[in-house]
């Protein structure tokens, strides 16, 4: 037990992204260094300055939900529910047999507790703005008097969390955190603290995002941070990020409860730290990330020299990767030479508010499997990114401690600390 409370473990994970539709598929790609970045299919991008994205391939909502329910969910909320079901099922929930149901699982939880002792905390940066974009196109482009009446409930940022609660019959604290590209990490961190403190027995937490709509892509193009080719984090010839979509959810609960019920434990969350740059709206800082990483280590009662691997924010922009390198070097000092650091965004793209959840999945799996996922599409070392970035090929290395970094526009930083679970359960 830590000084702050109980140990908190991950007993279920769900994920869908450009790398696959299941944890096994996604981990296989991360381990093999396969990128999911490809020409964007969702909309016509011929006029854009970029054509590549990391889209979820072949997702058909009607395979997961009844038709009427499909209409009531933006793609980002569909990803949230699908991955929450995966995580809950892996943790031992008995999911309803039907693909769509509001059938409550209260009373069917693996704990014998009711749904009111479970939290759902989701992160998203853009929520259902794809639906909003479609609604605005109906008004401004097609001259219709009003958008579809579901536009508001489809767009609301909490739609993913609410749909998960309805789907699984969870009636405890349910809410959404929107802190741009740190959303999911903030969500997992908050859930971790709530489980550790005993405020809830368990939590489903993570994030989801689905930004491939014409208006959103134009807005990203205007920011001039998206690469015209593929994202190459930490590489000297990097030209920006590649947008991604998807979702990932973790099922967290107290270690003693997980052990008592014989659950399969995938990993342990041991610390969470956050900070704000209070500086520039989009330019990253060194001090803010240092402060957040430091806070996560402090929360975990972990010395910096114990950390073996950092899943970097690593967006592939000139500015982020250099600044993050400086932050890591400042915090870890000489130990930075021993650190392995990679950006899995090189494979699953930058899924914005879901990014931290995809990367939490990658980090938990790296600890569990003893394989550190690489930074792919790396072609040329950059002196200002002089870290061991695990270029292109995964590394077999059994480690114990890892961090996962998320640094958002708006200068909001969130960092999670994980530990390999050695309990043998």
């Amino acid at each position: 037990m830590t000084a702050s409370g109980q140990r908190v473990v991950v007993t279920g994970m769900g994920i869908i992204c450009a790398l696959g539709a299941t944890p096994a598929e996604c981990w296989g790609a991360l381990r093999d260094g396969r990128s999911g970045i490809a020409p964007i299919q969702a909309t016509d991008v011929r006029e854009l300055r970029f054509q590549n994205g990391a889209e979820v391939q072949g997702f058909r909502a009607e395979e997961h939900f009844e038709p009427a329910r499909c209409d009531q969910m933006d793609r980002f909320a569909q990803f949230a529910v699908v991955t929450a079901r995966q995580a809950a099922s892996a943790a031992g929930f008995e999911l309803p047999g039907e693909t769509c149901s509001n059938g409550s699982l209260a009373g069917k939880t693996p704990f014998g507790t009711s749904g009111e002792r479970i939290a759902v905390i989701t992160g998203t940066s853009m929520g259902g703005q794809t639906s909003l974009d479609r609604g605005f196109a109906a008004i401004y482009k097609e001259g219709r008097p009003r958008p579809h009446p579901f536009t508001i409930p489809l767009t609301m940022y909490n739609a993913g969390a609410s749909q998960i609660a309805m789907d699984l019959g969870i009636t405890g604290p349910v809410f959404t955190i929107s802190t741009a590209c740190a959303s999911a990490t903030h969500a997992i961190g908050q859930a971790f603290w709530m489980v550790r403190s005993g405020a809830v027995e368990a939590a489903i937490c993570g994030g989801s995002e689905a930004p491939f709509s014409p208006g959103i892509l134009r807005a990203w193009e205007a920011m001039r941070v998206v690469t015209p080719e593929v994202c190459r984090p930490f590489s000297r010839n990097r030209r920006g990020l590649t947008l991604g979509e998807g979702g990932a959810m973790l099922f967290l609960e107290r270690a003693e409860r997980a052990i008592a019920r014989g659950a399969r434990i995938l990993g342990e969350v041991i610390g969470f730290g956050m900070s704000a740059d209070a500086g520039h709206l989009t330019q990253p800082s060194v001090d803010g990330p240092v402060s957040a990483m430091s806070a996560a280590l402090c929360d975990a009662h972990l010395a910096a020299t114990r950390v073996d691997y950092v899943n970097a924010h690593g967006t592939g922009t000139l500015s982020n990767d250099e600044t993050e390198t400086r932050a890591i070097r400042q915090l870890f000092g000489a130990h930075a030479e021993n650190l392995a650091v990679s950006s899995t965004k090189s494979m699953h793209g930058h899924a914005l508010g879901a990014a931290g959840a995809l990367e939490a999945f990658a980090t938990v799996m790296a600890l569990r499997e003893g394989i550190l996922p690489p930074t792919v599409s790396f072609t040329e070392a950059d002196p200002v990114c002089n870290l061991d970035v695990i270029p292109n090929i995964a590394r077999h290395r059994q480690i114990e401690f890892a961090l996962s970094n998320s640094f958002a526009f708006g200068g909001l930083n969130a960092v999670l600390a994980f530990r390999r679970w050695e309990g043998g359960v």
Binding site: P67, A68, D71, Q72, R144, P145, R146, H148, P149, F150, P153
Partner: protein, 85 residues
Amino acid sequence: MDEALTAKVIAEIAAVKRIPVESITINSTFEELAMDSLDAMNLLFALEEQLGVSIPDEAANSIKDVRSTVAGVRRLLAEKSGAQS
């Protein structure tokens, strides 16, 4: 006219609820058809688009069955053609 309008409303309800047209009659209530508030909103949006009318919020709240929907839409269409003539 009424029969055509009734058929139109029934067809839209069938599309919204994804149920067969044959399962709906002029006497069906929304409750019998398991039409919840979101379904009703969806139906009114479809009727507005199809028929070129604007259904006021007060009228929308009072519609609970097929017959009152047809009657309400008929009245709006009459007002519209009256205004145009």
